[in-house]
């Protein structure tokens, strides 16, 4: 069944797809978005129930699609010497549904890593080109925070003031002050005041398990209402099998399955892929043709390669006093970028961010918290549980991963999703640079926790739970070294664009969602400006 041909077809309704759809529809484009998941009903969020923590392990709210297995999920095969546990969510709003909403920006140096530090590559754009889009994205999403951080470029006043730090934030902040290290209250996509018809955060702390009051700025409650009001069309439960080409080698449209398994064709003048750093290469590699036997837009051979994550290491400090880390939004109260930039005296290049983080509830603590130290069973159980639960501050070391071609997303030869589409296989090896970086971070984290008053610390070691998926269809000037140009336009297919974390050239030591949104807004403007040249 043929559908009316829109100007723009967007595949994926997450942070990038939502912003892009809203932007283009506001400019006057006819936009259709296909999303393999569906709207999430806030009534179904587990955060309303006493057994919400159980949803971390079992059932339809686990962040790992291999455990969750909703109809719209596809399996992800994890491989390599450090197999990553890929986390994502397939729904309207994408992974912003189970997002913690930490909303930091890249630094100017993140766009010039090759020039400055002799590793990775430079982006074809700079921080200044993205600045206005960061601001616009912040305003639409609704961000809480405070301008004036000397470790970041100046920025406009935040839409709402910072969320409460709590005893936890004040305690760790005092530790940083004692050491003379830089730290700041973090930007979060969680509003602290009424904003654009949405109520402020009620401080429940279950952000990753759904925010039914829409204080968290997930894409389904921020960009999507605006996009739909602009006249954009969103088709849910539409699983795209492949992007098709016309005889001139341009994107013709897509083939997708509806929930009953019927195959449909959606034509479009322009196709934009926004399926995240694993889903995007998967779709491109599944879209083979005579012209592109190795995957669509893959003359460079780089589709799927240079897969980057943020290597993590969690250090938990135990305090005599109550920190009550379960109180307050799970978005990061504060962060430190004291070790963000390259220091040639260290054993690694680039750096890391300390995320000064809250906790989940008692079940998660009993299971072992973030450092994998379960409360012992037996006669000492209660004593140790009382020592730890509510007495912990976690400092998460989030390192900047460097792009390496052997870290990659390919298609698994055997595993397929329920529609018969080949599943992605993700290979990952934690580099020596990252290992040194995390080792350094662990030592420094312990130091600041002890300066804050911790009497004991736990260390998770390197952690491969991965929700930041980047680099697999990166931007660049040269078609042999990149998949898309500075406007996210595929070098090899004029009317195909790729806009999501896969476009990233470097990972920074910053959560990617703010940058993904800013890039998507900028890409929307670029596509609109180029529209007459694309058809």
């Amino acid at each position: 069944m043929k559908k009316e041909k829109p100007d723009i077809l967007v595949i994926g309704s997450g942070a990038a797809g939502a912003a892009l759809t809203e932007r283009l529809s506001s400019l006057g484009a006819k936009v259709v978005c296909l999303e393999q998941g569906d709207w999430v009903d806030p009534q179904n969020y587990p955060s309303a129930n006493p057994d919400w923590e159980a949803s971390m392990r079992r059932g339809p709210w686990n962040t790992d699609p291999n455990i969750r297995r909703r109809p719209e999920d596809y399996p992800v095969v994890n491989d390599g010497s450090h197999p990553p546990k890929i986390m994502m969510f397939n729904a309207v709003g994408g992974s912003t549904i189970h997002w913690a909403a930490h909303f930091v920006r890249f630094h100017p140096s993140d766009f010039r890593v090759r020039t400055l530090d002799g590793v990775a590559e430079d982006w074809p754009i700079c921080y200044e080109e993205l600045e206005e889009y960061y601001d616009t994205n912040d305003r639409i999403i609704g961000v809480s925070g405070l301008s004036g951080d000397p470790a970041n470029p100046p920025r406009t006043p935040r839409p709402t003031p910072p969320l409460p730090l709590g005893v936890l934030g004040e305690t760790i902040g005092s530790g940083f002050n004692k050491l003379g290290w830089y730290w700041w209250v973090s930007d979060n996509a969680i509003i602290s005041r009424f904003y654009n018809g949405r109520p402020p955060c009620s401080l429940h702390g279950k952000c990753q398990y759904g925010c039914p009051i829409a204080a968290k700025g997930s894409a389904d409650v921020t960009y999507w209402p605006k996009a739909l009001k602009n006249g954009a069309t969103l088709i849910t439960k539409a699983r795209v099998r492949e992007i098709t080409l016309d005889r001139q080698g341009r994107a013709r449209g897509v083939l997708y399955y509806d929930p009953d398994g019927n195959l449909h064709e959606q034509l479009s003048k322009v196709v934009v892929v926004c399926c995240n750093g694993v889903g995007t290469p998967r779709l491109l590699l599944n879209s083979t043709s005579k012209l592109f036997p190795d995957g669509l837009a893959n003359f460079s051979g780089l589709v799927g390669k240079n897969f980057m994550v943020h290597p993590f290491r969690f250090i938990e400090g135990v305090f005599e006093e109550r920190m009550d880390g379960w109180k307050g939004p799970f978005g990061i109260p504060a962060m430190s970028q004291h070790f963000y930039e390259t220091d040639s005296t260290r054993e690694f290049v680039r750096g890391y961010t300390f995320l000064l983080e809250r906790s989940h509830g008692p079940v998660h603590q009993a299971w072992g918290g973030h450092t994998g130290n379960p409360i012992p069973w037996g006669k000492n159980h209660h004593r140790i549980m009382r020592e730890r639960f509510g007495h912990i501050i976690r400092v998460s070391v989030m390192g900047e991963d460097l792009p390496e071609e052997h870290n990659r997303v390919e298609l698994d030869p055997k595993v397929r999703d329920s529609s018969g589409i080949k599943a992605p296989r993700v290979y990952y090896h934690l580099s020596e640079n990252s290992q040194h970086m995390l080792d350094h971070g662990a030592v420094m984290a312990k130091r600041v926790l002890e300066a804050s008053g911790a009497y004991r610390t736990f260390d998770s070691g390197p952690v491969m739970g991965v929700t930041h998926l980047m680099g697999t269809a990166r931007m660049g000037i040269h078609p042999t070294k990149s998949v898309v140009n500075k406007f996210h336009q595929a070098h090899d297919v004029k009317n195909l664009f790729i806009v999501d974390g896969s476009s990233f050239v470097t990972a920074a030591a910053a959560n990617p969602t703010s940058t993904i949104g800013a890039l998507a807004l900028r890409a929307g403007d670029a596509i609109w400006d180029l529209r007459h040249d694309l058809v």
Binding site: D51, A54, D149, P153, Y182, S202, E341, Q365, R386
Partner: protein, 205 residues
């Protein structure tokens, strides 16, 4: 923190008959899976209760697992999760068989020391802890069992006051927290710029 008394918790627990609530459906499933001879409901629940109470025993003012309806909770979870049900039943069956072999008695009738000893064997994965029926190894099954007991225990609102936890449903009012006070950043504000500026083409930042 409000203290729970063992007596108070026990009184409330005894009001609920675990035999009546949630047991039957998966008992039927297990009979269908394993056959009537394999399955003994009373023995299963006694084993489950005895094992759970060694995982979280009663100490001072804190109740044992079975005293806060952990068995109930586990029963309801296992109704919906056949895979987990198989693991838990196989684990309990191993404990029961080992208790008979080593001590000549049912697990629930063994002494606490004997029960703890068997649980430690399972946890360590020492020889004999392989669960032949499922071709699985002891430690991962022990972890699944332990975690389920923990989940059941700490999901019970009766326990929360004793550990200082307040659950706030996202449908209601959240915890009280002091508003952010900018003065905590006064020291940082005095410090110089700390990010790397990038020179433009003219060499100016």
């Amino acid at each position: 923190m409000k203290k729970l008394t063992r007596r108070g918790v026990l009184k409330r627990s005894l009001k609920t008959s675990i035999w009546a609530v949630g047991i039957t459906p998966y008992c039927t499933t297990l009979r269908l899976m394993y056959g009537a001879d394999f399955w003994d409901e009373k023995r299963y629940h006694r084993t489950l209760r005895a094992a759970a109470d060694e995982i979280i025993p009663s100490v001072d003012d804190m109740p044992a697992a079975s005293q806060v309806k952990v068995i109930n909770y586990i029963s309801l979870v296992l109704e919906k999760d056949i895979e987990l049900l198989r693991l838990i039943v196989a684990t309990l069956d191993w404990l029961q068989n080992q208790s008979q072999t080593r001590f000549g008695r049912d697990f629930y009738q063994a002494s606490s020391e004997q029960r703890i000893d068997l649980l430690k064997v399972l946890e360590r994965g020492a020889q004999g802890s392989e669960i032949g029926l499922l071709n699985r190894v002891g430690p991962d099954l022990f972890v699944a069992f332990r975690n389920l007991v923990y989940e059941a225990y700490y999901t019970n609102p009766e326990v929360w006051p004793a550990i200082g936890y307040e659950f706030h449903s996202t449908g209601g009012i959240g915890p009280a927290m002091k508003p952010f006070d900018e003065s905590i950043l006064d020291e940082v504000c005095k410090r110089p710029r700390y990010y790397r500026e990038i020179p433009n083409e003219e060499g100016k930042t």
